[in-house]
């Protein structure tokens, strides 16, 4: 287990950008969008947000979960530079599957904290719903079916033993829910209702987010299907169970998207357009897929590190994000972080207290089940939302009290875990 050192200099977020999370091929206006256009848009929006131009940026990081498979690129950072005016500037690509976007911030902060660069951009792009067509120009794409997605997702796991032993790649769908239900003695129906309420809350949040993929609330879907009560709908074959606990409503909605962030030394940050948001610390852990209860163990370690290095206490966290491509993550990580009380969080969820208008808001953008999951880009999309909430710019989905301190829990990539704390600079 690692002990984190303090950053050599404080680093703050000065700009964020995000595309809609979408099925690009399904809309004539977005069909044919390429990696360069998506990454470039998010990057340029982040620069516009900060009030800077490409010439001001010293270096950029590029994240994509599966560039070989979905884009036919080996070094995908090279092919986006020209699209946002960064020709000739140095960059590097990194790939941590669903955790890429959270580690994108980590990379950028470290690059500035070290003193090597002053202004660093970190962006991620993913086509979760479409694939490149080999030997055709980049705007030729085809749909990315679930069977192909599941086939290539298996590449996240160890080939020496984990795949051959057949459990690691699939146990994660229900492991955390089973642990939670056992530890706190919840019946199967209580756990089922808890997961359903998380899906409902996520969708309520996404319904009010113009960039979200899924914006029709479950109450409306229930009415359309002839149900008076949304919970009856959630427990019905309209929302089938995929395992012991997980239902369709609790699974990620994979899609296309891109997002970006710009950071600089906090001492420089006040000269730009926005109120800076300092990155206080980022805890990180990683466990391979054959390791039991890896999400819980890795989250505990990442959270321990970040509280230790920042000195922040759990009660200071005003807003929480969790990468919840399996919706259980949302509850268990909030409890591990001390944002919700241990063993009691499920009640908060069921009472709607974790929706955007509750007293303990989680995933105000709708998370992976409703905002969507453009795998690498999701972490930076969460960061985009966190920054917008902390600036008070979220309109009708603005949380009740202006958040000053936010935690984001990243998860993914066979599997990485991160816990990031950001705080508005006074």
């Amino acid at each position: 287990m690692s002990t984190l050192g303090k950053y050599s200099r404080s680093v703050s977020i000065i700009g964020v950008g995000c595309t809609p999370f979408m099925y690009t091929l399904d809309n004539p206006e977005t069909a044919g969008l390429t990696e360069g256009e998506m990454f470039g848009y998010a990057a340029l929006k982040a620069m516009e947000d900060a009030g800077i131009e490409a010439k001001d940026v010293d270096f950029y990081f590029h994240g994509q979960a599966s560039p070989m498979n979905s884009s036919n690129y080996i070094t995908p950072n090279m092919q986006v530079a020209d699209w946002f005016g960064m020709r000739g500037k140095a960059s590097i690509h990194h790939s941590e599957a669903c955790c890429t976007g959270y580690l994108a911030l980590e990379q950028a902060v470290n690059a500035v904290a070290s003193g090597k660069y002053d202004i660093v951009l970190s962006g991620c792009v993913e086509f979760g719903d479409s694939l490149a067509i080999p030997d055709k120009p980049a705007h030729f794409r085809k749909k990315f079916p679930m069977e192909e997605f599941l086939r290539t997702t298996a590449w996240i796991y160890d080939r020496a033993y984990t795949r051959a032993m057949m459990s690691g790649p699939v146990i994660c769908f229900d492991d955390a829910a089973a642990l939670y239900a056992t530890e706190y003695n919840l019946s199967d129906s209580q756990m089922d209702d808890t997961l359903n309420h998380m899906s409902i809350n996520n969708r309520r949040n996404a319904a009010k987010h113009p960039l979200a993929l899924m914006r029709k609330e479950y109450s409306e879907l229930a009415k359309e299907a002839g149900f008076d009560d949304v919970m009856s709908y959630m427990r019905s074959p309209y929302n089938p169970k995929m395992g012991d606990y997980l239902r369709v409503s609790g699974m990620e909605m994979k899609c296309d998207g891109a997002a970006a962030v710009i950071v600089c030394p906090t001492e420089m940050a006040s000269q730009f357009k926005q109120t800076p948001i300092e990155v206080l610390g980022i805890g990180c852990a990683a466990l391979e897929g054959n390791q039991p209860h890896l999400e819980v163990r890795g989250t505990q370690e990442a959270v321990r590190q970040v509280y230790e290095v920042t000195g922040v206490r759990p009660e200071e966290i005003d807003l929480f994000y969790a990468n919840d491509f399996i919706i259980t993550s949302h509850l268990i990580s909030a409890e591990i972080a001390g944002y919700l009380p241990k063993g009691e969080g499920w009640k908060y969820v069921c009472e709607g207290r974790t929706a955007y208008d509750g007293d303990k808001p989680i995933n105000t953008n709708g998370g992976r089940t409703s905002f969507g999951h453009a795998h690498a880009a999701s972490g930076l999309a969460d960061l985009y939302e966190a920054v917008m909430q902390m600036r008070g710019l979220c309109g009708e989905r603005q949380v009740k009290n202006l958040p000053k301190t936010t935690m984001l829990r990243g998860f993914g990539g066979g599997q990485n875990l991160t816990a990031t704390i950001i705080r508005t600079v006074d």
């Binding site: 599941l150 032993m165 146990i171």
Partner: protein, 137 residues
């Protein structure tokens, strides 16, 4: 003894062909790595020796296979669950446990941890390790 470059994975699978399930024990701290790897994850030691795993183990948690986790290549192993298994020599690993059904799931959950034993099974072109419920006498 210095670090040695050796085909640990190949050795593991070759031993399965001979009917032996192998792990590696750290000579410095005694911790066992299963499945076997180069270095010790308990004390960072690099002087490791091969040992045969007894196969005795206990299952500490389980989930049932689902639409997402049932693949054509695992149908011949039904009924099974996906579980955390702690082997007698110490380490815990995610593994497939045969003999668990929707009917005995609740009973097993009440009795955790439940004894299981390792078995070597044939897959297409190689052998691997799964676990099976130990019948109560």
């Amino acid at each position: 003894m210095g670090v040695k470059l050796e085909p640990v994975v190949r050795t593991f699978y070759e031993e399965l062909e001979k009917g032996r399930i192998m792990g590696r024990r750290c000579k410095r701290c005694g911790a066992v790595e299963f499945p076997p790897v180069l270095a010790c994850n308990t004390c960072s030691g690099t002087d490791m020796e091969w040992i045969e795993i007894s196969g005795r183990a206990k299952m500490t948690s389980l989930i049932m296979p689902s639409v997402l986790s049932t693949k054509p290549e695992t149908l011949d192993l039904m009924p099974f669950c996906l579980a955390c298994v702690e082997i007698e020599e110490g380490p815990a690993v995610n593994a497939l446990v045969r003999g668990v059904t929707k009917k005995n799931r609740a009973e097993l959950l009440k009795k955790m941890p439940v004894p299981v034993k390792a078995e070597i099974i044939q897959r297409e072109g190689y052998k691997t390790v799964v676990f099976t419920l130990v019948e109560e006498k």
